[in-house]
């Protein structure tokens, strides 16, 4: 037992790192769907925008990383606002029309990014200060990933507090539950919508900046990130921060510990997990106020 634990400790820690990355990326998708009832299939594109921002601005120093994070958040927020503006006219036309529009946007932006940055995968190096490895009970582990766990955990706590504990979050959750009632209270719903979309998109782009050393930008990365995010929010349950966190941590473990323990089933693990969860709990692990 002790030997088993020792052999898989690194996998478990890395599962947390990967899960927190997935949470940072996916929580926006979940909130946008829950709050605004918009199915945004351009979510992977926001990650890609953040990752390319990191590639363009990272110079191996800590200030460079901070600059990239700020710029990435800005790029994401702008992208989110633009997507809100573009999807508003389709608000009453159902998810499928939004899916067509946002997939179309994905194709267009992917093509433009490939034209600008070329067809190679371009992972960035983490800042020099965070490049080494540490000894994790006799196993080597990258410092950057440990730092990443700390940063992403802080982000997760912040987002959780913002949405579940603050009065602003209460307003947002009220909007999820009953939009018309909130409107009747005299709140400008549109501001709330723009705000949530911009925040969710900024988080996805920040995930792109932080994830760029592991999951570097390149053609096709937007699609894999989109699929991973969809799996996370559906497994966790749409429309809640807690759901996104639970789903992300589970998928993170499946993709690291699961792959190590069941190598022969590795290609099927991700979607197998999703099917298994949805068979038992059709609305995801954490049920929320959203009716799907």
């Amino acid at each position: 037992m002790a030997g088993w634990l020792d052999g898989n400790l690194v996998g478990f820690v890395d599962g947390i790192a990967f899960g927190l990355l997935l949470f940072t990326i996916a929580v926006g998708l979940s909130l946008v769907f829950g709050m605004m009832d918009v199915l945004n299939l351009a979510h992977g594109t926001l990650y890609l925008g953040g990752a390319y921002t990191a590639y363009a601005l990272s110079d191996g120093t800590l200030p460079g990383l901070l600059l990239a994070l700020t710029a990435g958040a800005l790029v994401g927020a702008l992208g989110g606002a633009a997507l809100t503006w573009l999807t508003q006219p389709l608000a009453r036309r159902g998810h499928l029309d939004q899916a067509v529009l946002t997939l179309g946007i994905t194709f267009i932006v992917a093509d433009l990014l490939a034209a600008a940055f070329g067809g190679e995968v371009l992972p960035t190096d983490p800042p020099a200060a965070l490049r080494g490895t540490v000894d994790l009970l006799g196993h080597t582990y990258p410092v950057y990933r440990l730092v990443f766990i700390a940063v992403a955990a802080c982000l997760a706590v912040l987002v959780h507090l913002l949405f579940e504990r603050s009065s602003l979050g209460a307003l947002v959750r009220a909007t999820v539950a009953d939009r018309d009632m909130v409107r009747a209270q005299g709140v400008d719903i549109r501001k709330v919508l723009y705000g949530v979309f911009a925040l969710g998109a900024a988080l996805a782009a920040v995930g792109g900046v932080l994830g760029a050393p592991t999951l570097g930008p390149g053609p096709g990365v937007d699609e894999s990130v989109l699929v991973l995010s969809l799996v996370v929010v559906v497994v966790g349950g749409l429309g809640s921060v807690r759901g996104a966190l639970v789903g992300a941590l589970l998928i993170g473990q499946v993709q690291t510990l699961g792959v190590a323990l069941l190598p022969q089933y590795a290609p099927f693990l991700l979607f197998g997990t999703m099917l298994a969860v949805l068979v038992v709990r059709p609305h995801g692990l954490v049920a929320s106020a959203v009716r799907t």
Partner: protein, 391 residues
Amino acid sequence: MAGRFHPLVLITVTTGLLLATGCGGASLGTGDDNKQAGPVKIGLLVPQSGTYKALGDDMKQGFELYVRQHGGRLGGREVQIVTADEGETADSGKAAAEKLVKQDRVLAVSGVVSSATVNGVKDLFETSRIPLVGSNASPTTLTGTEYIWRTSYVNDEPGKALGRHVAERAGGPVFLIAAGYQAGKDEIEGFKSTFLPAGGKIAGEEVYTPFPGTKNFQPYLSQIENSGAKAVFCFYAGGAAVDFVKQYRDFGLAGKIPLYAPGFLTEGGVLKGQGDAAEGILTALNYSADLDNAANRQFAPAYRAAHGTDPTTYAMASWDAAQVLDKAIGAAGSAVTPETVNAALSSVGDIDSPRGTWRFNSGGTPIQPWYLREVKLGANTVAGDLGRLGG
């Protein structure tokens, strides 16, 4: 349904117009003899979009460089290059190949990145009797063809070239890991075919990682660390190669356990992406940009001047594909048809190539030299000879 049918008219008309632009002999006859008067048309089937775009760009640049260096002529005939987008899947590749063969009526086709595409278009080239001078993809299963040539290598050869060397140098068991698709399996089998007879030992089981979709290699890197292996042989190309090499360094394995691989791991754009993480990696390939021979002195500096980067094996094999076609069209004489060119291809003899001298074997793949290369200061440098393969 009344009145809800206008757009269909529009679509029918545009479709009709679209397709009518592509008239080229009726689809119900066998068509006339494809005799090339005036400039000869050569098709380039390379990815211009999607994951393999970077490879496709390399191949296109290599082929075009040769044609440019020879005054826009091959075999004394003016050349018109028609490019079609291979895309990511075998389907898009097959559709593009059909366009080149059936609509553009090209004399010959070069290019092709993916093994799946080659399998998909095999029958097309064999039945329409058009030569395909492929410059990259070459699965081991592709045999017994008459119209398909490759100026690259067979997929298991880079592994074959390296097996013996690693067995002699490793000083202990070697861990084998590759992307889980046909090319990965070919490389591992090729490696084992020379590694095991030379007394090599494999650490644990060979591992195939799900392809595509493996982005985080931590589970496998931990396995390598725990296996007690003295060296690692891996096969990755493209984006996965960048991810693998970077994470190999991040987990502290670089510099501790030597990493051997077929040359694609550190070839071209991926090396830029890997940066200093690639330092010291040992690879086997049929080419290195720093080779010193007459043909490479003609090729590499010109390529650098045009594109600002070192040429890759993909560009080199495409440059050679143009050279092979140059010779074959020249030898076909006055009646240049796909059939005469294909016949001439079998007797082009020794090719004076940037990789050294090579010639086609009976299966239409090169008998050529292989080199051991080491990454030093962000460039592949020749570190030794691995003998000739393909005979």
